[in-house]
Amino acid sequence: MSLADHPSAHADAPTSPAGVDLASRLRVWTTTVDHKRVGIMYVLMAVVFLVIGGVEAVAMRIQLWSSDLEIISPDVFNQLFTMHGTTMVFFVGMPILIGIGNYVVPLMIGARDMAFPRLNALGFWVTLFGGMLTYFSLATGGAPAIGWFAYAPLTETTFARSAAVDFWALGLIVAGIGTVTAAMNFVATILAMRAPGMTLNKIPFFTWTMLWTSVQILIAVPPLTAALVMVLFDRELGAHFFDVQNGGSAMLWQHLFWFFGHPEVYILILPVFGMVSEIIPVFSRKVLFGYEFMAAATMAIAFISLGVWAHHMFAVGLSRQVDLFFIVASLLVSIPTGIKFFNWLATMFGGRIWFASPMLFCFGFLSMFLIGGLTGIMLALAPFDFQLTDSYFVVGHFHWVLIGGTLFGTFAGIHYWYPKVTGRMLSERLAHWQFWLLYIGFFVTFAPMHVAGMLGMPRRIFSYEPDRAWEIWNQLATIGALIQAPSYLIFVYNLVSSYRHGKIAGDDPWDAWTLEWTTSSPPPSYNFEKIPTVHSRRPLWDAKHPDDPDWQYE
């Protein structure tokens, strides 16, 4: 089947390059309220910011190559890591996951669109605007140099005189509003728009994780918004929230920020848990093992994550009792995470594991995320954390989780659904190159950071003393970054070139089991001609095996 078989899918945007008026195509994309187009725009936005954030990272790695380099001035370096962190969390991580969710969730649950299509489009544009506003801080003569968690009182006018911090705070407030609208939309869509028969205990697992991610967003993002409003009031109206000279509290910011900040890391990982829970079964040809336990574990993570924030604050001098509480809460997260891990392994066990690119990235996720989880356990133990926190060990740890976990999982998802989105397959050869360069480069970049941290190297330093013995670890990290860099370029190239030249995918290239694979690739704007009815968690399994359908066993 070719793209031309589905003229209705492209009624408002011909894919043929010939005779397309750019202006009208732009108009179509900028005015669209179709969840699929909005989703694609989210992902493209994230890819653009990923490249920007990546360039910032490479610049920092080059400066840290040796102890005597002065390529980048201290202030610029401090701006680089501030913007790198802000970009990757707010304008890459969240948009790419929300974008994939936007595209896939309505298709998976047999809906024609999100619950509020116009609000959905608004959410995207507001998020993009927030990103641009944050980068507009450059127009003040330089980005903010406060770190992505912007500890008060560094953000007060006394210490940050230019308007850069104001643009940064405004940008995050605006992007946060976009994120919250997206979360509202997911909740309403998932709870009210499911196909007949798809009860809540039959929804595809990715949908389930998007639901709980959305709940976390609703709880965690508004406190950040409120705290950023306080920063702006301090700076613009002379309020004193974080003005320690006038009774304000530096600790309040830390509590509010991490009350957002820790659920945030689960916001960045739960959807990925969902994606790999879709992909591993398909590429092992087995049903997801222990769906109910996986679902319960997701809920448990979402709830426990609200009570662990102060493990980022062990060094601020809380009491030992408080420390102990947060040790326990943080370690508890490892139980549901462990359940998930074992269920993925059990799903693979006894299967026919098939290493097409989505599964390859799932393998990357499984083998690496485990390590990030184990270093996380070390950081949760307050006494060990007194040594490790704010050192390069932490930098290594969270990149391990965010790249080894979130990014590998997201790449798995993109490689899995790209044929659905474009109607064409990504090049497997390029995908393998991308995977192995990323896998090796990632290891070489971030493993040495753990060592540097244990040898006493604090994070966020633009240079280090020659006698510190950190140079070799930094050089390895820089080499790793240079190995990683081309993998992202290969990825972008693969996205672009396969869109034109990829093998035609057909509706269901992976022989998968969820509803999105019943419609055409790409799907028509209305998704389904006839809303499907569902009897089990794998409606297509039932359809392909009418003699032995799943609903008999659920």
């Binding site: 190559w65 040796s66 201290p74 202030d75 401090n78 406060i146 009182p153 210490f159 320690v244 304000g248 530096a250 600790m251 040809r285 049903v287 093992f289 222990g290 109910e292 336990f293 060094a315 601020v316 030992r320 040790i327 490892s334 139980i335 462990g338 359940i339 074992f342 059990a346 693979m348 006894g350 299967g351 026919r352 594991i353 098939w354 097409a356 393998f363 485990l370 070390m378 133990l381 307050a382 006494p383 060990f384 007194f386 040594q387 926190t389 704010d390 050192s391 497997e428 040898l455 006493g456 190297m457 604090p458 330093i461 003393e465 006698d467 510190r468 013995a469 140079e471 050089q475 095996h545």
Partner: protein, 347 residues
């Protein structure tokens, strides 16, 4: 760029030569940091075990159940479908729960061992109490009391503390404050880090039997020169420490030969920020210079304190530490020289 390649080629040589252990958390020199190492080794072992088991299962599963066909071909037949198993699920819920329980117990024990007043059978000398004030981007040490004696001098960037010996424990109690933004006091071999937070006083206990120099640096991002806010802790034997205390307690030397230099120093705006006890320089914002030359380093530990560096520093501090809060005053060459010579006399 040639420097880049040169240092690349000496990668391995560098490892062999450099004193890699000087800031390692695995070279503890105090009871607190040793307790952390015990916990760390334990949890590293637990993590290694989990790692081996889980990765082992992962790779075994892949090796055994991998479909050997073209990467882009769907396997032709479906394996048996297994939907789940309650006993198995319960087993792998309970196993991590037991590990968590164990880790909570051991970390709770360690938690009460670190950053604590010494619990020892030795005679405990009344602790040396020092208020540490974090400032952008240097450390101020206000010595308060020791061994029942009141101390009343202020110094900067190099903290001197007494070592314990077999008969006496000589702990140090640091009261951590900040004059501006959040900093963090981290000397890995002596203790885990504790933040210095404006509007709050934190406490950090140090105690060690090992005399010598211990290094560290600020661990919480605090602005432009966060990277150059280095910590130097000099642990001295009882005799050396007493000598040092006595010298620091004296007012600045008043060398008549340096009268002109002193005059020059006092007539410039140096005095608005710096203090030289015994003179009219009573500034409160910059390092106390009363016994400047008793220190080994300049600019918060980044360069050795000698005549050349001092002259460079006074000429333009931003050549050495760009963005630091001390301005270049554009002094005349003679005046600069007079001030340098005066400062060199502050032993």
């Amino acid at each position: 760029m040639s420097g880049v390649f040169a240092s690349g080629s000496t990668l391995l040589a560098a490892v062999a030569e450099e004193p890699w252990h000087e800031l390692s958390i695995f070279e503890p020199a105090s009871p607190g940091s040793a307790a952390i190492v015990r916990l760390a080794l334990l949890v590293l072992a637990v993590a290694a075990l989990i790692f081996l088991v889980v990765e082992g299962i992962l790779f075994y599963t892949i090796a055994r159940f991998r479909h050997r066909g073209g990467a882009s071909d769907v396997p032709p037949t479906e394996p048996p479908q297994v939907y789940g198993s309650n006993p198995i699920e319960i087993a792998w819920t309970v196993a991590p729960a037991l590990i968590v329980f164990f880790l909570v117990l051991v970390s709770a024990r360690t938690l009460w061992e670190v950053n604590a007043a010494p619990a020892t059978s030795r005679n405990v000398i009344e602790p040396l109490t020092v208020t540490v004030v974090g400032r952008q981007w240097w450390w101020e040490y206000r010595y308060q009391s020791y061994d029942g004696r009141k101390l009343a001098f202020i110094t900067a960037n190099e903290l001197h503390i007494p070592a314990s010996d077999p008969k006496h424990a000589r702990p140090t109690r640091l009261l951590l404050e900040s004059a501006d933004v959040v900093h963090s006091f981290w000397v890995p071999r002596l203790e885990g880090k504790v933040d210095l937070i404006p509007g709050r006083t934190n406490q950090l206990w140090l105690e060690t039997d090992v005399p010598g120099l211990f290094l560290g640096q600020c661990a919480e991002f605090c602005g432009t020169q966060h990277a150059h806010m280095l910590l130097r802790v000099v642990v001295e034997s009882r005799e050396d420490f007493e000598k040092w205390l006595a010298a620091q307690a004296l007012p600045a030397v008043d060398d008549p030969q340096q009268a002109a230099g002193r005059e020059a120093f006092l007539s410039e705006s140096c005095v608005n920020c710096h203090r030289v006890r015994g003179t009219s320089a009573m500034g409160n914002y910059a390092p106390d210079l009363t016994h400047l030359m008793s220190r080994q380093t300049l600019a918060s530990g980044i360069i050795p304190l000698d005549e050349t560096n001092l002259r460079r520093w006074i000429h333009n501090p931003h050549d050495i530490k760009p963005g630091c809060l001390m301005p270049a005053f554009g002094l005349s060459a003679e005046k600069e020289e007079l001030i340098v010579q005066y400062l060199l006399s502050l032993k």
